[in-house]
Symmetry: none
Subunit: 156 residues, 2 copies
DNA sequence: AAAAATCCCATGTTATACCATAAGAGTAAG
DNA sequence: CTTACTCTTATGGTATAACATGGGATTTTT
């Protein structure tokens, strides 16, 4: 029935002493709908955790297979890094995943996690870091607004 | 059968204490017709809520996926901004959606909401703000088309 | 055996589905 | 042209289901 699967919204959830966090229910719905799994890895560019449906990584792998020439060496390396770091995180009957020490440390998350939707992907941030990052992005986007409105042209 | 999907007209509805508003029936018809969902987010440029069919965001996500710019910084920022703020708002059997505190605050809406159609998108305004905005827009148009205003003025 | 991971139950909170009434818009009959 | 009726829509209130989260029990790993 649902044809779309977009990770959206910004949701704040508690992380308990064991490292458990509720995956936002919308995200869980996507996983169920696609009968896939959530995959997480350390972001290559930011102090946050990045996640997506396992499906997406398969798509990327397939793309690399068929169009190696179009990927630069750098992108190839980056992709390797992600695959090397990524792991499945399945949620229990109450909808929680258990984040690993490695990921929590990289994102500096202790007791609160902020889930930020990115369409096909999502990110998990420490609240303070996300507040700063959001501010930075808004300033950055406003600076480059002309090009943004150009991109809005895809709306038609 | 022709599938039209243009958000039009200006409709004023009450917002109750819980933040519930009736989605204009025309809008609901569009959602049903396209079997999609309504997605809302804070306008980047105005103190109002902006909404569209989820389909539209899906298109944007698809564009980004195929752009090969999987690791571009700008794209990263954009997806955070768009999808991080957007959320699905499905309506109940009586046609109401529950607007979030974040959105209501951004648009300064308390007890009344004005829905303004914009084609593929629509906006939700606080009544006073919308009155000002509409006035501003009309003045702007008259400024840029003096000949039009002369014609209308003398003849009627 | 100790530690870690997974599962299961309990609770407060919140969102959503449902019911009921009121208000209009439109239609048909008088 | 007016009145009565029907149907859709808007809105208030309430009940129910879903969710996040704490705590503990059970299983698996090492």
């Amino acid at each position: 029935m649902r044809k779309t699967f977009l990770f959206m919204d910004t949701i704040v959830n508690k992380v308990d002493a064991k490292g458990r966090v509720s995956l936002p229910s919308d995200y869980r719905a996507i996983v169920k709908e696609l009968s896939t799994e959530i995959v997480c890895y350390r972001s290559l560019t930011s102090p946050c955790i990045e996640g997506c449906a396992e499906e997406l990584l398969e798509k990327i792998a397939a793309d690399m297979e068929t169009s190696l020439d179009f990927f630069s060496q750098t992108q190839d390396d980056l992709t390797n890094l992600i695959f090397g770091d990524a792991r499945r995180f399945s949620f229990d009957s109450t909808g929680r995943i258990l984040l690993s020490e490695k990921l929590l440390k990289h994102a500096q998350i202790t007791d609160t996690a902020v889930f930020v939707g990115k369409g096909r992907k999502f990110q998990i941030w420490n609240p303070e870091n996300w507040a700063k990052e959001e501010k930075r992005i808004r300033q950055e986007i406003m600076k480059n607004r002309p090009s943004l409105s150009m991109k809005g042209g895809t709306n038609r």
